[in-house]
Amino acid sequence: MKGKAVRYNKWGYIFLMPFIIVYVVFQLIPMVTTIYNSFFENYMSGLNQIGPNFVGFDNYVSLFSSGDIWIYAKNTMILWIMCFIPQILLSLLLGAWFSDVRLKLKGARFFKTVIYLPNLIMASAFSMLFFTLFSDGGPINSILMQIGIIDTPYKFLSNVGSTRGLIAFMNCLMWFGNTTILLMAGMMGIDTSLFEAAEVDGATSTQVFFQITLPLLRPILVYVMITSLIGGLQLFDVPQILTNGTGDPMRSTMTLIMFLNKHLYSKNYGMAGALSVVLFIITGILSLVIFKVTGNDKRKG
């Protein structure tokens, strides 16, 4: 009798296959080999291969004993926070405006497209542009000098604050459109009858935003925050190109991935592998922390 029933679950597996294959080939295997490689001394000296020699945890020891990794981790987090806070505020505001039925913004579709546009520019092209704009003899300095704000060119890329600021600004500009669209999707998913009920009860739009929109938006906010955090940890292209790979001034804008990239010069798989594993663990811990802090744990009810 059993054989007669139409079984569909094999299709489930078949449709899962492409993902599993891609995941194993492009994610799982590289991850396992990275961990494996991190226990070896393995690099190129000129055209000569050194190793691979098994060295146990030596790579990790030298990574942490120099202490530099903490500086780069701190840089990365500072850059992320500098970019994320303005970005989420801006996106919440824009999202609230765009999804507010009472405001009836004209040309909302146009603006939604426009704010997303910066994300379409290649990060490298974007930072090349900023590098030129903000160079010592660049147009921004000329303008500032002509309107008389400063007398001598301000060296944007030689000061910690301005360099970090520029990187955060660029990232913010590139990603706030994306965040706005995600938040807007979340806001539009909220039952409009709740807004109407609030309106009937005489709530102001500020009250509506803080009492209704924000609490109901929390799952999306958590998602946005985690993805942004992981993206932030992998921050590379903008500071790499803006500072020509040096992380100047004094490596204050050198992120963890830029540090990883430094080991590619000698194809140092051991050190790079160790760093990647550390990065993997940090990412995992941070994601867990955020998950807990924002109270998204379903078990609490």
Partner: protein, 481 residues
């Protein structure tokens, strides 16, 4: 119905691309052979694509040319810019340009594989390809590659570069070449593995207008008097600053002048060593920067090259012949070079900068052609003369250079009619290259980058030196401090 057709088409297209992608990969990896399982993943992937491309062109080449010989049909040349290509195009007899990346010599297709130097991309690409040289198909093997002095030893001191004697080039052929150009590409066993068509003794190129305005005359002798040693040089910097000029565009301009006059190598017995003269550069430069007499721009940046134009207000650049001829915007309307506004004088100390060496890759299937290119481009006196006249290059041939130096008819347009060759000839004899090491490129780059922080006041000298050590050890994990 329509929807179904469209979706079916889309599916088909997607599958097709997937399969096509896989097919390519499979093809390329069989091509690359199996002997290099231990080498780099990223490198292999890159080179695979290059290989695939190479095979395609190779096929196209053999279709059009029917003639057969015992030499390969494809000559693969690896280099980092257009310079050598334009030299071959202009001066090598029988070279016909096909398009931007290929040409022909007789029935041989010349394939130019140009990878820019940025971020070490040229060497990464060359390394990956050289490491698979033994397994590559004959038409994909590198036949000829170019190297610079900074890292020449990295290649010359391996078996990947072929001794020129094995090509049939004798010492007598190269008798007129300057000794220093041979020293750089001689390996640790004393075997010569490359040749160069240019010599790169450096001089000081000064802005004639600025010299007239500030020093009263643009005569090389007067200017030389103002820059004859570093103390006078730094004094002149003050005078120039009062007149609104920077003596040089950036502290990095003077770097090579100091670093070529060192008395020890960057690496001694596996330890990083900072020479005294390099520290002199740091101290002198810090003073210049603090006094606002020069900038800290990276070489080749827009801020650095602003001085190629009169508005840039830069008094001088240090450089060899190729800098003023090839890199200082001489073709651009409104630049100083275009108006013939540069003058040349010896400067405080002799130095050299760059230079390009031609190496034959071991395993080449075009040995005969490679030999001919080397001989024609570096020893044929007629071609050498052509290069001097047409490209203002300083060629690697004593006879030619000494005759040209005395020739009153020869003069450089960019240098306002001056004949600088005698100056170069004097400079090239004094070059001492006994303190080169395979680590020069990385050390020089990282030292300048690290010191930039010190000059700009973002770090103390010790912090900046610390940063230099860190950066070098990242690049060369085998060294210690």
């Amino acid at each position: 119905m329509k929807k179904k057709i469209v979706s079916a088409l889309l599916c088909a297209a997607m599958t097709a691309t997937m399969i096509a992608g896989c097919g390519n990969n499979a093809g390329a990896s069989t091509n690359a052979g199996t002997g290099n399982a231990g080498t780099t993943d990223a490198g292999t992937a890159d080179a695979d694509t290059a290989d695939a491309a190479g095979t395609e062109t190779a096929d196209a080449g053999s279709d059009t040319t029917a003639a057969a010989g015992d030499e390969g049909k494809v000559l693969n040349i690896y280099c980092w810019n257009e310079e050598f290509k334009s030299r071959i195009t202009d001066h090598y007899p029988g070279y016909t340009k096909v398009d931007a990346t290929s040409g022909t010599i007789g029935d041989v297709t010349v394939k130019w594989n140009i990878t820019p130097n940025d971020d070490n991309a040229y060497q990464n690409n060359l390394d990956a390809t050289l490491l698979k040289q033994a397994d590559a198909a004959a038409d994909d093997k590198i036949d000829l590659f170019l190297v610079e002095a900074d890292y020449a030893l990295k290649y010359v001191d391996t078996d990947y570069a072929m001794p020129v004697a094995d090509l049939g080039i004798t010492d007598a052929d190269l008798a007129n070449q300057y000794q220093y150009t041979k020293d750089i590409v001689t390996d640790s066993n004393g075997v010569l593995k490359g040749v160069s068509w240019q010599g790169c003794p450096g001089v000081l190129f000064y802005n004639r207008e600025a010299a007239k305005e500030v020093l009263g005359s643009d005569d090389p002798a007067t200017v030389q008097e103002a820059v004859k040693d570093w103390d006078t040089f730094n004094e002149t910097a003050k005078t120039l600053k009062d007149a609104g000029y920077s003596i040089v565009s950036s502290v990095n301009d003077t770097y090579r002048v100091y670093s070529n006059n060192v008395t020890s190598k960057w690496v001694v017995d596996g330890k990083i060593n900072i020479d005294e003269n390099i520290m002199n550069w740091v101290n002198d430069s810090k003073e210049l920067v603090d006094a606002g007499e020069t900038g800290t721009h990276d070489l080749w940046s827009d801020d650095w090259s602003a001085g190629f134009y009169p508005e840039g207000k830069v008094f001088a650049y240090f450089g060899p012949a190729w800098l003023v001829n090839f890199s200082m915007a001489a073709d651009t309307e409104g630049s100083i070079g275009n108006a013939g506004g540069w003058g040349a004088t010896e400067g405080p100390q002799g130095f050299f900068w760059g230079g390009t060496w031609i190496c034959a890759a071991a395993g080449t299937d075009n040995a005969g052609l490679v030999k001919d290119i080397m001989l024609q481009m570096t020893t044929n006196e007629d071609i050498m003369k052509e290069i001097v006249v047409k490209d203002d290059d300083f060629v690697n041939n004593k006879n030619v250079m000494e005759t040209m130096a005395e020739d009153t008819k020869y003069s450089s347009k960019i240098l306002g009619g001056q004949n600088p060759l005698a100056m170069y000839c004097a400079g090239v004899e004094s070059l001492d290259l006994s303190n080169l090491s395979p680590y020069d490129q990385g050390c020089n780059e990282e030292f300048q980058k690290a010191m930039k922080n010190y000059f700009q006041g973002n770090a103390t000298l010790d912090e900046a030196l610390e940063l230099f050590y860190t950066a070098v050890l990242e690049k060369y994990p085998e060294l210690s401090r």
